[in-house]
């Protein structure tokens, strides 16, 4: 099996990235990561409590997992850059997921500021994964700036609504060279499978796992769905038609002797 996700110079077997927010307890986080087999896990630097081992969420992430600190709380590119640098200085590694959100009502990302932050952080040597609204021009600029992947939202954060932005994400899959990772909005494993079937390289799931009645079980369900969706994409699904294909053609008589 050679189908690996190439991201930031790494070859990853898992195409399910996970978030660590919203869980009912920190103790459940490592179990969920294990059940999901995730190799990249994101956490908000604002939440990381470096002073207290029992409170520090990083201590609940298995060591072999790549840490993906995110810049949650940043309202501008400058704030995102400062948060990313704090994360690196604190020993969280070079990877960063840029989140620039200046809208607390819908939590929609600011693409323009995100592009700027991407440019600066790539320049600073980070592996940059920008969270964005699926807009082709913005995605092109992020990729051109050196983003390791582009992370369009499927629906607003925490809504569990699924892949509402499907048409736009499909365009990104078609046009953007770097991996497309759908982040936010995925509410059920079937949504994740659907995204993977379209050819996105990976998905990032947080709310749907963290707020399930049984997060560990849900993490496993997502892992299976992501795998199934990827397999289906690689297998090449048959074309979708708007009408049935009659087994007894109406013009068959023309061919009859």
């Amino acid at each position: 099996m050679t189908d690996k996700l190439e991201l930031g110079g790494e070859k990853l077997a898992s195409r399910l990235l996970m978030g660590t927010g919203k869980f009912p307890s920190k103790e459940i986080i490592p179990q969920a990561i294990k059940a999901a087999d995730s190799q990249v896990v994101t956490m908000a630097l604002r939440r990381v409590d470096f002073d207290s081992p029992a409170e520090n969420v990083i201590n609940y992430i298995p060591e072999e997992v790549i840490l993906l600190p995110n810049t949650s709380g940043a309202r501008t590119a400058e704030e995102a850059v400062r948060i990313a640098k704090l994360a690196r200085a604190a020993g969280c590694g070079d990877w960063v997921k840029i989140e620039v959100i200046s809208d607390h009502k819908y939590l929609l990302p600011d693409n323009q500021e995100t592009i700027r932050a991407t440019e600066i952080l790539v320049e600073e040597g980070f592996v940059v994964l920008p969270y964005m609204s699926p807009d082709l021009m913005a995605a092109k600029k992020m990729a051109a700036a050196g983003a390791a992947a582009v992370m369009p939202l499927g629906a607003p954060i925490g809504t569990n609504k699924g892949l509402r932005t499907q048409d736009l994400v499909e365009i990104l899959v078609e046009e953007i060279e770097v991996p497309i990772i759908v982040d936010a909005g995925i509410g059920k494993p079937s949504h994740a499978a659907q995204a993977m079937e379209l050819g996105v390289e990976a998905v990032l799931v947080n709310t749907a796992i963290a707020t399930a009645d049984d997060p560990v079980r849900m993490a496993k369900a997502f892992a299976q769905a992501v795998e199934a969706g990827r397999e289906a994409y690689l297998a090449g699904a048959g074309p979708v038609r708007d009408y049935a294909e009659a087994s007894s053609p109406l013009t068959g008589f023309l061919e009859e002797g």
């Binding site: 409590d49 607390h104 709310t207 707020t211």
Partner: protein, 367 residues
């Protein structure tokens, strides 16, 4: 345009008459609506909606978990000084009350900070009375200089300031603002604020907006429940929060739902807010503004606080003292008001876990 204009639009509304017209069918429909308007919100505050608390609670819980997860942020207040030039009838620190007045020296601030940090607190709310002479912005900024070494997030609850004054506090290291209107009903406002700069209703009303304009990361507002009719007060609180949320989407807006507690001076509430009323207010706010933060203080009793966690609370205080220097310097002093839940931070964390929620100490880091 300020919220004052919005207040003007509604201040003469006949709340009793509006709420009397709320019917069962209307409430049933609101339960299934995606987005609520002010009429729906007010209907949820009506006496009739009091019979729908269970279905409303189910809905509010689901909305809260989706938006905030099973997570409660902890904070604690630190009173820096109790000098006050105002005469607010309900407050233990009002100018006419004879109690020892004190302002923490910077050394005392450090002692208090060490003690509070040891308790495991990361988000600190610092408070003073209204006295620009005794608790000047310079003094507060000096305290912030010390406190920011101990706490990654600092909020202020002090007298109202101008935009540039709020900016200077942000530069000093403050990231959040709490300011309660206390009471939106202007007539009652004038009755209970009998002396001092706090008599300026409008300057206080616009203070949260000035905080947003200055760049505060979060702004927390509230009405002191019990001073006037709670239904209309909760309505104005929600309306004010909505106004701020719409106009300043970059700012996290939250509300507190403080009920008037006994304090030195023995002020009797004008409106009795029972537990079930408090629940109704929290549920109505949650459904009206799904992304709104809701803060609950130690004014409330332990058992009630436990039960309110799953209804939409996002932030709770723990092991609070309302005494100036009450953590280490002066544990026997007289507080601004009486707290009811006196359990330790560790105990509060335990009870939050017991409810299936994760207590969070840190949700911001100064950058």
């Amino acid at each position: 345009m300020s919220f004052y204009d919005r207040y003007q639009d509604f201040k003469d509304l006949d709340f009793k008459q509006f709420m009397a017209g709320v019917g069962e069918q209307q409430l049933e429909e609101i339960l299934f609506k995606q987005s609520l308007d002010w009429q729906d919100f007010l209907a949820l505050l009506s006496p009739q909606a009091g019979s729908y608390l269970e279905p409303l609670a189910q809905r509010a819980r689901e909305v809260s978990i989706r938006n905030f997860g099973r997570v409660i942020l902890l904070y604690t207040p630190l009173y820096l000084a109790n000098y006050c030039v105002n005469q607010c009838l309900y407050c233990g620190f009002k100018a006419s009350n004879e109690l020892p007045r004190h302002r923490l020296s910077l050394a005392e601030v450090e002692t208090e900070a060490q003690k509070i940090a040891e308790m495991g607190i990361k988000h600190l709310l610092i408070l003073t009375g209204e006295s620009r002479q005794d608790s000047s912005l310079e003094y507060i900024s000096s305290c912030v200089e010390i406190l920011k070494e101990y706490f990654p997030a600092l909020a202020v609850e002090i007298y109202p300031n101008s935009v540039s004054e709020y900016r200077s506090l942000i530069e000093a290291g403050v990231d959040a603002l709490t300011i309660y209107q206390e009471v939106y009903d202007r007539q009652v406002y004038e009755q209970v604020h009998v002396q001092g700069p706090k008599q300026n209703y409008r300057y206080r009303l616009d203070a949260p907006e000035r905080g947003c304009q200055a760049g505060m990361r979060s702004v927390n507002i509230g009405s002191l429940l019990g001073l006037a009719d709670w239904r209309s007060e909760a309505f104005f609180t929600g309306l004010h929060a909505q106004y701020l949320q719409n106009k300043y989407p970059e700012t996290e807006i939250s509300v507190s739902v403080p009920r008037l507690q006994s304090a030195l001076g023995g002020f009797a509430p004008n409106s009795v807010v029972e537990d079930r009323h408090l629940v109704q207010i929290i549920l109505a706010l949650r459904l009206f503004l799904p992304r709104l933060g809701i803060t609950l203080s130690t004014r409330e009793a332990p058992e009630l606080r436990e039960n309110l966690i799953s209804l939409g609370i996002t932030k709770m205080s723990a092991e609070s003292s309302t005494v100036v220097g009450g953590y280490a310097v002066n544990q026997q002093g007289i507080g601004q008001f009486d707290t009811t839940d006196q359990r330790s931070v560790e105990q509060i964390k335990e009870l939050i876990r017991g409810q299936g929620y994760q207590p969070i100490s840190k949700n911001w880091q100064r950058i």
